[in-house]
């Protein structure tokens, strides 16, 4: 099948130069579109090569294509291609320009393979592959200690989640089940073990999708080039977690507990990250927390049963968040700072960037008719139908906060007066072109899921054939919500209105808590990292003093004994004679004793 060509292209040609990489991913995109056009109803699966046999279970390298796959393929290839184009400008002049594209190509290849994999093990393999690329790209400017540390943190933290995924796979394997997604429907539903497996798989997804409490790596990962953040940490890789849950959805739906966990974790992440985003001053950090929050929203949707809503939001989010990141990158490129307090009024200097960024922000905030609106609307509906008021409330709160912080960013960055000393200028067209394209998608993509298109997306993704109707109440409600958030931001930022009681001591601690990201990093530092360091140090000392000490002790005691025995040889012959006579006598006594049955 032609998809493997994608991988082959990505890997092989990546090392050359950016153009090769772009060409390869463009080709992949074209192929993806082709696939989309030729997709047989219900999807297709192709088993290619036997890989290994585990206790009699053959694992094959295979490809599985269905609507979900195709959607991801399109997202990955299109966004990937655009971002690579953008990168040509963004990374220009970097000493490791070509290596950057090599990594990116490797990432693209892994990501595509991940999406195409037909079983969990294959998925896991490329899952780690994208993790690696993420790590390498985050630490791309490894001279910066922060970047290096962030790279390690990104890999290790996701690896914690991956361990869960690995164990989940092991459970499935050990209980004799197939790892193929296609066969997952036939798993016994009531089995507790399967619920555990599902939860563990979700743990993997949590790591990759930066869900609470494994979200800590994502904000740090902003140390990487912004284009990387856009591609990996906004559009594609972080969505892989959502994809994984969606992919093995049958496993979750069989177990309410698993599904609820997904929803709850999603809700916590969504609200928490959104609140942090409101206080962050680094433009990329804001976007990063926003990503966490939006991913939480997707998880929430999936957990509440909104399969189509979740995946829809995944797709729209990929476009508008990539747009936002690229826009932010463009801004950073221009003003050489990431602190939104040092920006302002940039829309005058950077028209294209500004407008596209605002489009993206509106999409994210969920303003009609931009893409985000439609997908978020779907989520609201799904949650409403799910019937859990707490979860719905969480989504609402998230949505409100989203609108607030996006508005805050825009007000501070693009509107108002310039606070930056740097001479800002518009980015080259190689960077603005992708922005425009993405803005088009961000603006228009929502329609495929809207009632105007008769819910084309939903039907495509679920394979069902249902008409989607306007839910006017919900539209009004969510629009009001978003506008409320924007309004609040306007009041607070532009007008400088102080919230009543915001100075009070009761609120201060709350704001401090939020501003410090709920101290989660610090808690990890105290609870995990320091104990680990201490444990390692202790083990090393234990190794030297006890384990090795025991060994050397044996040797030393043998040596001491030998020293003693050597001293027996006094050199005085009368001692020898005494030994001899005494020894003989002893021998005699022993023998006589034995004869007389004394011993």
């Amino acid at each position: 099948m032609a998809f493997w060509l994608n991988i082959a292209f990505g890997r092989r040609l990546g090392l050359g130069s950016a153009y090769v990489a772009v060409a390869a991913s463009l080709m992949a995109a074209v192929l993806a579109v082709l696939v989309f056009c030729t997709l047989p109803p219900g999807g297709a699966a192709y088993e290619l090569v036997p890989w290994i046999t585990i206790n009699g279970h053959p694992i094959t390298v295979g490809v599985m294509v269905d609507s979900l796959t195709v959607m991801m393929l399109l997202v990955v290839t299109v966004v990937g291609t655009l971002i690579q184009i953008y990168s040509i400008g963004y990374m220009a002049g970097d000493v490791r320009f070509s290596r950057y594209f090599a990594y990116i190509s490797l990432f693209m290849a892994s990501m595509l393979a991940l999406v195409l994999a037909d079983n969990l093990l294959m998925l896991y393999i490329f899952w780690e592959g994208v993790g690696l690329c993420s790590c390498l790209l985050v630490a791309f400017w490894y001279e910066k200690p922060a970047a290096a540390a962030a790279g390690v943190k990104a890999f290790v933290t996701t690896r914690v989640g991956d361990t869960g995924l690995l164990v989940g796979i092991l459970i499935l394997l050990a209980s004799g089940h197939s790892l193929r997604f296609a066969d997952m429907g036939g798993l016994p539903g009531s089995d507790v073990l399967m619920a555990v497996a599902a939860l563990l798989i979700f743990l993997g997804a949590m790591g990759k999708s930066a869900q609470f409490p494994l979200h800590v790596w994502l904000p740090d990962a902003m140390e990487g080039p912004t284009s990387v953040s856009a591609l990996i940490h906004a559009a594609t890789m972080v969505a892989a977690g959502v994809y994984l849950v969606a992919r093995s959805y049958v496993l979750f739906t069989a177990h309410p507990l698993a599904l609820e966990t997904v929803a709850v974790i999603g809700a916590i992440s969504a609200v928490m990250a959104a609140s942090i985003a409101c206080t962050a001053n680094d433009i990329k950090k804001v976007l990063a927390y926003s990503t966490v929050s939006q991913l939480g929203l997707m998880m929430l949707a999936l957990g509440a049963g909104g399969y189509a809503a979740g995946t829809f939001h995944l797709m729209t989010h990929a476009f508008f968040k990539a747009l936002l990141f690229l826009g932010a990158g463009s801004v950073i490129h221009a003003v050489h700072t990431q602190d939104i307090r040092e920006m302002g009024g940039l829309i005058h200097k950077m028209k294209v960037t500004g407008i596209t960024f605002i489009i993206g922000a509106l999409a994210l905030a969920g303003i009609m008719p931009f893409a985000g609106f439609w997908s978020k609307d779907e989520i609201f509906i799904a949650l409403w139908q799910g019937g859990d008021p707490v979860l719905f409330g969480a989504a609402v709160l998230t949505s409100f906060l989203t609108a607030f912080y996006m508005a805050r960013v825009i007000f501070l960055t693009f509107l108002g007066t310039s606070r930056s000393k740097a001479h800002a200028h518009e980015s080259p067209s190689v960077m603005t072109f992708p922005l425009v394209v993405l803005a088009v998608f961000a603006a228009g993509l929502g329609f495929i899921g809207s009632p105007w298109c008769h819910g084309a997306f939903q039907n495509f993704i679920t394979g069902a054939d249902e008409e989607v109707h306007f839910n006017l109440g919900m539209i009004a409600f969510s629009t009001a919500l978003s506008l409320g958030g924007i309004g609040l931001a306007y009041l607070l930022i532009v007008k400088g209105v102080k919230l009543p009681g915001s100075d009070g001591p009761g609120r201060a601690w709350f704001i401090r808590l939020v501003a410090n990201k709920y101290y989660i990093d610090e808690i990890y530092e105290v609870l995990l990292i320091q104990p680990f360091h201490r444990l390692c140090g202790a083990l090393m000392r234990f190794d030297i003093t006890r384990v090795d000490g025991a060994v050397n002790g044996v040797a030393a005691s043998a040596a001491a004994l030998a020293r003693f025995v050597r001293r027996l040889q006094t050199g005085r012959v009368e001692n020898y004679l005494l030994m001899q006579a005494g020894g003989a006598l002893l021998l005699l006594l022993i023998i006589l004793g034995k004869l007389c049955r004394i011993f």
Partner: protein, 102 residues
């Protein structure tokens, strides 16, 4: 006649006196004296057994005779060794010869 055992008791006593001398005396010549006692104790045994057991070919006495010869040879070599050491160190006390040790 007295029982054989009484003669063996005598020889055993002599043997032990010899051992005592070997173990407790410093003087190398006294050591030689003690060894002579041990050899003579064995000889007494041999002669007595010969007499009491009545070996027709006189083994005990023949052996004793040979031992007297051997004892002479051993004494000669022993004494000459004592003298050789004495020549170098002007001492005949065994506990002073401990160049070779450990």
């Amino acid at each position: 006649m007295i029982p054989l055992a009484h003669i063996v008791v005598l020889s055993a006593f002599l043997f032990c006196v010899g051992i005592y001398g070997v173990l407790t005396q410093r003087n190398a010549i006294r050591f030689l004296i003690s060894v002579e006692l041990i050899l003579n104790a064995a000889n007494i045994n041999l002669v007595a057994f010969n007499k009491y057991l009545g070996t027709p070919d006189g083994l005990g006495q023949v052996f004793a005779l040979l031992i007297i010869g051997v004892a002479a040879a051993a004494s000669v070599v022993g004494l000459i060794l004592v003298i050789a050491v004495y020549r170098l160190r002007k001492s005949v006390f065994m506990d002073e010869f401990n160049l070779l040790k450990w």
